[in-house]
């Protein structure tokens, strides 16, 4: 790019950073694109400069939403026995566990594979849509806090691996075929990995409250 190289520091950002893993206080230094600042005491990541602007990120989130809807609605695996074929979607899986006296598992699967990932994608999309112009979306504060707490409770990527293992196992008894749903999940897995590298706390520094600022 011939544009001036983006540096991830803005004058409004506070000058100090505290490592959340060891409580060490660091002076913030400007990061080049893609650079990661590490804690000198414990080695944890302090902050990273994402190479992506809010626009690009938003496009990614919308893609993830489309892929997620497909992953949820399309069958994941088809199974054949004696010429009969059945396909199962995510909801069949959850429904079946509920009927089979494993309600705990059904609830876990519904939460970690449907409710939480969907909430994460929608929240991110909402926040980023406003962050594109440096604004804070309505509900910015509680939503950012909620996103933080959602942390490790979205498990779509584990499900992809689980589907793979299931296919191999079921293959011992039946004809099994992967369905489009599982490819959608695979794509979702890649997108999620990209999000994981994004330092969301930066949104706090990069956006302004409209009613606090003097915006018309």
């Amino acid at each position: 790019m011939d544009a001036p190289s983006p540096r991830c520091i803005d004058t409004t950002a506070p000058a100090l950073l505290i490592c959340e893993h060891c409580d060490t206080v660091h002076r913030r230094r400007p990061l080049a694109k893609g650079e990661v600042a590490e804690c000198a005491r414990c080695g944890a990541v302090l902050e990273r400069c994402r190479g992506m602007r809010a626009n690009a990120l938003l496009a990614l989130v919308l893609t993830a939403l489309v892929v997620f809807v497909q992953a949820t609605l399309w069958p994941i695996v088809t199974l054949g026995l004696n010429g009969q074929y059945v396909a199962a979607t995510l909801w069949d899986v959850i429904h079946m566990m509920w009927l089979d006296h494993s309600q705990v598992v059904a609830v876990l699967a519904a939460a970690t594979l449907f409710v939480f990932p969907l909430a994460k994608i929608l929240t991110l999309g909402w926040l980023l849509a406003y962050a594109r112009s440096g604004r804070r979306a309505p509900g910015f504060r509680p939503l950012m806090v909620a996103l933080h707490h959602l942390g490790p409770w979205t498990m779509s990527e584990v499900f992809v691996l689980g589907a793979l293992v299931s296919i191999v196992k079921a293959h011992l008894y039946f004809d099994v075929l992967p369905d489009p749903g599982i490819y959608a999940y695979g794509a979702l897995m890649l997108l999620i990995t990209v999000f994981a590298g994004v330092d969301l706390t930066r949104l706090w520094d990069e956006t302004r409250d409209e009613d606090a600022g003097g915006a018309p």
Binding site: L16, V25, C42, M97, V104, V105, L108, P152, F174
Partner: protein, 212 residues
């Protein structure tokens, strides 16, 4: 004071949720009801009752882990042959009949990762409480590793769920989930809560050597 001052010594608190640096000077009376000015989350110098909570959750998780391994997690029936699978027999079956590569992955996710969590968190709790100086940086890395890979243990739960749904949906009750899988799911959730309740800042709270 060392070259790397800690927030605690400077009267500062870092917000865990949004990263805001807050001044804590006016609250040396205790942690009670101090909220982050930016995001509104409660601020803690250290996570409250980290040792008690982490121990309690870890022990509960371990108690669940025993039936999770002893009880079968899934029943498969084919041609009148009823076969109850435990986590370990599932790994062996994959290794023998399917693919050894996947067997290794399942073994890591279902057996290695939970064991690693019990051992690491136990070690971290004991060494941090005694203010030990030993391998601090490595212990910090260990904690981050536990946080990063912990949820992959859910793999076997999803496998059982998927297989059950697949097979039951059309045909006969050839595959059935058994109670072991519920215990295993609870183990994973409880260990995840345990590692969240631990405060890695405690690793660094004892006296520090000045040789480095």
């Amino acid at each position: 004071m060392s070259a790397l001052p800690r927030a605690d010594e400077l009267g500062l608190i870092g917000c865990h949720v949004c990263g805001q640096v807050c001044r804590a000077a006016d609250t040396d009376g205790g942690d009670a009801a101090l909220a982050c000015p930016r995001c509104g989350s409660t601020l803690h110098r250290r996570k409250p009752a980290a040792y008690t909570r982490t121990w309690a959750l870890l022990i509960a998780a371990f108690l669940m882990y025993i039936p999770a391994n002893v009880l079968p997690i899934m029943r498969t029936a084919s041609l009148g042959d009823i076969d109850d699978n435990t986590i370990i027999s599932g790994v062996v079956e994959l290794w023998v009949k399917g693919s050894p590569g996947l067997a290794v992955i399942v073994f890591c996710a279902s057996i290695m990762v939970p064991m690693l969590k019990f051992l690491s968190l136990g070690t971290l709790l004991v060494t941090s409480r005694s203010g030990s100086n030993w391998a601090r940086r490595q212990r910090a890395q260990l904690y981050r590793l536990v946080e990063l890979i912990g949820y992959w243990s859910m793999l076997d739960v999803f496998v059982v769920a998927l297989l059950t749904a697949l097979v039951r949906f059309g045909f006969f009750s050839l595959v059935e989930p058994l109670p072991g899988v519920v215990f295993f799911g609870l183990t994973v959730v409880l260990t995840m809560f345990a590692s969240m309740c631990f405060d890695p800042r405690l690793i660094w709270d004892g006296k520090e050597d000045s040789d480095d």
